[in-house]
């Protein structure tokens, strides 16, 4: 469904990604793991059009989408939920959800989707008229995911959805991610919480300073001694 071919990207002169090759198949959950600055977020930015790669190509369902404007890539069915939640703080919960439905505004009334969304996120339904900025961190993350779902994405990319959240909420978020996937949405997940990410994922790629150093089945990676040592830490 998604294919990155030899992607290299730079921030000015700083090499963020070198020759990344990556594939996501329809219906999968794929995790991108690695330390801070390894290039996980940059990879998502290249896919969603925020960062133009210097070399290589991105294909989505056999269409070349390299270098397209982000809003055009959204039209193709890829939704990128950026790091740090980034909901619109001065918009209400409902308005945040409404703007999420921008992609499908011509075919669907955004209100018709709310019930379905609130099934995933019951906590949000009590807060419809509240400003996004007044929500707790966990609720904001839920809103960010909910806003992304409003667009009916085929591929949902989440950047560190667990960042800065309490363990119980992290568990909830991962449960929701699994549920979204089980209803047919393909997921590309960037995480620092490697334990969790490997548990939900089918496959994973591990990045180090802009290069893919390991890839494979999530289960195999989780039991790989080298990977364990480097990424799963002492908690395992």
């Amino acid at each position: 469904m998604l294919k990155l071919h030899d992607i290299s990207a730079f921030y000015g002169n700083i090499n963020a990604l070198s020759k990344i090759n990556l594939k996501v198949k329809k219906g999968e959950i794929v995790s991108l793991l690695g330390a801070n600055g390894a290039g996980k977020s940059s990879t998502l930015k290249v896919i969603s059009g925020l960062l133009e790669p210097r070399e290589g190509d991105v294909f989505f369902r056999d269409n070349k989408i390299t270098g397209m404007e982000p809003e055009i890539i959204v039209d193709h069915g890829i939704i990128h939920i950026p790091e740090g939640r980034q909901i619109f703080p001065a918009l209400t919960v409902e308005e945040n959800l409404k703007i999420g439905a921008y992609r499908i505004r011509k075919s669907t009334d955004w209100r018709d989707k709310l019930d379905n969304i609130f099934e995933y996120f019951p906590a949000l339904s009590d807060r419809r008229q509240q400003k996004g900025g007044t929500l707790s961190g966990g609720e904001q993350q839920m809103l960010a995911i909910a806003r992304g779902l409003m667009a009916e994405p085929e591929l949902l990319m989440l950047d560190e959805p667990s960042l800065g959240l309490a363990p119980l909420i992290v568990k909830d978020i991962f449960k929701i991610i699994k549920k979204i996937n089980s209803e047919g949405v393909t997921i590309l997940l960037v995480e620092q919480n490697a334990n969790m990410a490997l548990k939900v994922a089918n496959r994973a790629y591990i990045l180090e300073t802009g290069e893919i150093v390991h890839s494979g089945n999530a289960k195999d990676l989780a039991s790989d001694e080298k990977v364990k040592e480097a990424y799963l830490g002492s908690t395992h």
């Binding site: 925020l50 809003e71 409404k98 703007i99 921008y102 667009a151």
Partner: protein, 297 residues
């Protein structure tokens, strides 16, 4: 009777105030969506008014039965194209520059627009007709139907604008772009189109304000100086982060301006209006309805 004179001044203040409000809304709309303080809003409105005036004169000379309507429609069409071109040629290419850089661009636009208006239309002052001519007497009060037209038009434009911003998908897209354009893009919002659209709307609102004030100021290259300055005061007074603020600010400035001019002195008018602004800013640094700006990410 004193109260009638008072009322007449208040009414006149509402009339000019609603024009300040229109112009101020244009400035705030652009500021919020593209982070640009458009100092050239007044000069752009002046230019549009000159074009409108020219259409009015030509269509009247050509024997067209409704030259004012032709001029009004011409004003809308011209200002829409004008706003679109200014955004495309001057604003979009400089959108990555610093806030100061963007300010210099719009300050430069003042010179360019004013200079070309002088070169194209000359420096003479021209009479412009009111939308509705004549006046009505209520006791000692003299009220022009034109004033009702101005106030009514301003109210209609503001209601349409507020409805759009508050309730339509495009309005939410405008507010989302204003808050965080990068994330708005990630939601599929064509932020460049949104920005272009706000420039078009703001320029149209400026042109309407210019056309409505023209009968009082005449049409000349300096016609918008005062209304432009007052619209900025209105925007600052009401708060740059709010859409309702500039409207209230505009009306307050309009009324205050008129009352001070009549009861105290026209010489001190501007000084007192400024003093009022400064006092408000001491107590409400972000304006009456402004919120402390949140950092854009």
């Amino acid at each position: 009777m004193h109260w009638q004179i008072f009322l007449q001044n208040v009414f006149g203040g509402i009339e000019t105030g609603s024009l300040y409000a229109l112009a101020a809304l244009g400035v705030v709309l652009i500021y919020r969506v593209s982070d640009v303080t458009n100092f050239a809003q007044g000069e752009m409105a002046m230019f549009s008014t000159f074009v409108t005036y020219t259409i009015w004169v030509y269509s009247a000379n050509a024997g067209f039965p409704y030259p004012y309507i032709a001029a009004f429609i011409g004003a809308l069409i011209f200002s829409a194209i004008f706003g679109f071109l200014i955004e495309r040629i001057f604003i979009r290419p400089t959108s990555d520059s610093s806030l100061l850089g963007k300010m210099i661009v719009t300050l430069g636009l003042i010179l360019m627009v004013n200079g070309s208006a002088g070169a194209i239309f000359g420096t003479d002052s021209h009479y412009m007709q009111r939308a509705i001519t004549g006046h009505i007497r209520f006791g000692n009060m003299i009220i022009r139907p034109h004033s009702f037209f101005v106030i009514g038009l301003a109210i209609v434009i503001m209601l349409v604008l507020f409805y759009m911003i508050k309730f339509t998908m495009f309005g939410v897209a405008i507010r989302a772009t204003a808050q965080n354009d990068k994330v708005a893009k990630l939601m599929g919002v064509p932020t460049k189109k949104v920005t272009a659209f706000t420039w078009i709307m703001a320029t149209m609102m400026g042109a309407i304000a210019g056309l409505m004030i023209a009968p009082a100021t005449n049409v000349y290259t300096g016609m918008m100086a005062d209304i432009h300055l007052k619209s900025f005061i209105a925007a600052v007074l009401g708060g740059f982060t709010s859409f309702v603020g500039p409207v209230i600010g505009g009306l307050m400035i309009g009324i205050l301006d008129n009352l001070v001019g009549y009861y105290i002195s026209t010489n001190w008018q501007t000084v007192i209006v400024y003093g009022f602004l400064i006092i408000i800013l001491i107590f409400k640094p972000y304006g009456l309805f402004g919120e402390i700006p949140k950092k854009k990410v």
